[in-house]
Symmetry: C2
Subunit: 483 residues, 2 copies
Amino acid sequence: MGSEGDSNVLTMGTLNPNVIEIRFGLESPVFGRFNDLVNEIESGVEKPFTKIINLSVGDTHKLGLKPITFLRQVLALCAYPELLKSGDFPEDVKARAEKILKACGKGIGSYTDPWGLKEVREDVARYIAERDGYPSDYRDIGLTSGAAGAARQVMSLLMTGKDTVKRTGLMIPVPQYPLYSATTSEFGGYTIPYYLEEGTNWSLDIMELERAIAEAKPHCIPRAIVVINPGNPTSSVLTKDEIKEIIKFAHRHRLFLMADEVYQHNVWADGAEFVSFKKTLMEMGPPYTQMQLASFMSASKGFMGECGLRAGYFEIINIPPDVKAEITKSLFVKQCAPSTGQAVMDCVVNPPKPGDASYNQFIQEKTFVISDLKKKSKVVSDFLNSVEGITCPEISGSMYAFARIHLSEKALQAAEKAGLIPDDFYCISLLEQTGIFTVPGYCFRQKPGTFHFRMTILPQMEDLLYALEKLKEFQTNFMAKYE
Amino acid sequence: MGSEGDSNVLTMGTLNPNVIEIRFGLESPVFGRFNDLVNEIESGVEKPFTKIINLSVGDTHKLGLKPITFLRQVLALCAYPELLKSGDFPEDVKARAEKILKACGKGIGSYTDPWGLKEVREDVARYIAERDGYPSDYRDIGLTSGAAGAARQVMSLLMTGKDTVKRTGLMIPVPQYPLYSATTSEFGGYTIPYYLEEGTNWSLDIMELERAIAEAKPHCIPRAIVVINPGNPTSSVLTKDEIKEIIKFAHRHRLFLMADEVYQHNVWADGAEFVSFKKTLMEMGPPYTQMQLASFMSASKGFMGECGLRAGYFEIINIPPDVKAEITKSLFVKQCAPSTGQAVMDCVVNPPKPGDASYNQFIQEKTFVISDLKKKSKVVSDFLNSVEGITCPEISGSMYAFARIHLSEKALQAAEKAGLIPDDFYCISLLEQTGIFTVPGYCFRQKPGTFHFRMTILPQMEDLLYALEKLKEFQTNFMAKYE
């Protein structure tokens, strides 16, 4: 035998080229720098700051918010039904766990239907119907491993191959949480970026959609448009009129609508309101009511923040029965979503009602999280806008600020000299000098020549204010150095 | 607007053709017939039997075996850490839950590393090292949503496109649990079937592997071989010598080894023993030790049977660092496996030790399941072989009998007249006349001209004996009718 590499089948040369093409923001050196920093501090290296604040991820619990008791109690009883005999759990918790266990047949250790437990899907459908005022059919609901699982499932249906001029184009907002562009790459599709308008609070302009689709047509068959509402990373909340215009656009171009609505509980700005694509489409009447639409929801965001449990769902409407049978088949191959996540999703869409034993505690906990985040959304955007050289639209929804940094010519030259993309140069400098970890704007894509960072508003107020002060101090020095 | 279909983007005509090509056994009408039957009985339709026994799925809990207490107690405490204060849980359960919660940082609601919690992966690596007597590195372990998630992750790396002569070929056993062929279709790869030898207890013949790969070469680049050991549906257990021959074959043809070892705890035949591919490869020494190999494991099988929790792992060895970085990226896009499943996997690979408070109960429960299944494996194969017209090799491992049905010319004609594949004709007749639900052999692929059904050995003994008696009665009548 020859050299070591001889028996390697899997090398960069043979690896699935779609995997290589994936961009998920991780190409930024800031992530590696953060890991190094954590290790350095653990091994006693002195730093010019006392603590690291990780503002890079929308992970509610990691940043200090508490799980909702009702939901975790139900999960514990489902996991270990012996606890049903205990006197320590409220009656509604026991009743809910019993309902889910009954739906499972012989407990959460069994496979569920590949679409998920019928009883949970019925609760999801009731939640949607109550939210929108229009019916929802449980047979249109699929329970998944988070919204990422939901989006992957729906996106995979739309793909028609890579090595052909017939490949599928997906319209994807810029900036965007990179799930959609990354998955499009992985599945061999073509990303059609459309730019949101920063100057008007990241609003969506139909002329820009028209430009984007016209430019893409020589390269693909545009088949779908993804909208994230409330926006990630933009934090904007679409108005009903904006949604109507998008629906008309999608109808005009025969596009499948994909509405990422995972932040539907996270709306902060006065006057802003979450309106679902499904509701809007129903209000518009025929022919729009016949359009195909998938909406994605998650238990990872909202007031629950259960990222680790991997609970999500899709609602997919106006799908012909033959296509639905194909969806069933493709779900079977992957097996069901975790039963634990399904149980938790049931609690999210069907929380305790007034009069239930858990109701008061549930409302108290939920209200605390929501009002806490609302407060933080204002604190963060007010603060950021008070810092010279940084602008940030009002944080209308979601869990992030996507702040623009206005870099001087001198700063851009310094970045170039350091061999770094300007946002990386900024975020790495910020991290190394202050311990504040934010994500460079280009990880979410942005208009060429503009630079941003994304930070989450989730940390506890004390940490958040500390981080903002550090950021201001850094920015002041940065401006002075590169003025 | 015109007719209803006008706004449909997603139709059978535009659906991802790879999805349409998936075959997962569900094309058999027996599944629909089973659902109809359940509905008919619920609505009071009279049937010539009193109960339905579903022998179609390897779902341990659904068929009456109990979950392992230790594992569920740990899960309950992780879900609701308030229970750590309770006096009702053994100390080792509390310690384990505390260890997992600490690994999570702020509880199971947080995202974990995309490869899974380091501490759980370390426990997996220790388990493998102890099992094999060779080191295992936690950085080679990825925690996944069941073994299906593990197999999908690894298979996706190997795919190089469909619409090209360079597409990836995967060697896949026949018969096989259809995950591998279905996922190959979904990912646009090329399935290279190799036949196991029924006459010698489904053994694996190297000449057959050579034939299969030679025939496939004009159609694809063969890059990997999948082996399921212990076998599903075949229930065979490979000897170390057989594994050595497969490894040599894979080395000769530069194939990536994929070892589905989810039934490693389910070995029944006297003298049979589970030996891992990794151990064998290590024993063989260079150059084999440098081969790339992935092994898949699951919490859904074994003595635990936790199908619904979606817990699995892969171990992947000899992967260059640049490729590993690509794996990390592709795992990030999907997000982590459920934290609940990760917690349970930790209990599976690191169960209570002698002296631990839970040890006695754990061993008692585990031993019960294992000895119960061992007993059933013998009952089922002895019984099936006693029935005229049915043969079934010894059930050496796994949870199934894959029984051959010897159909007369008259029976084949009757099937043709009914417009059914012969195995479907048999299994549907069996279902409708007795309520016994088995899966036709062709769902797993089989040698042309041979016919089988798969049944699980999992039901409680009483139900199992009832089902076997019904089957015998049916077979006797069937033989008489079509002699």
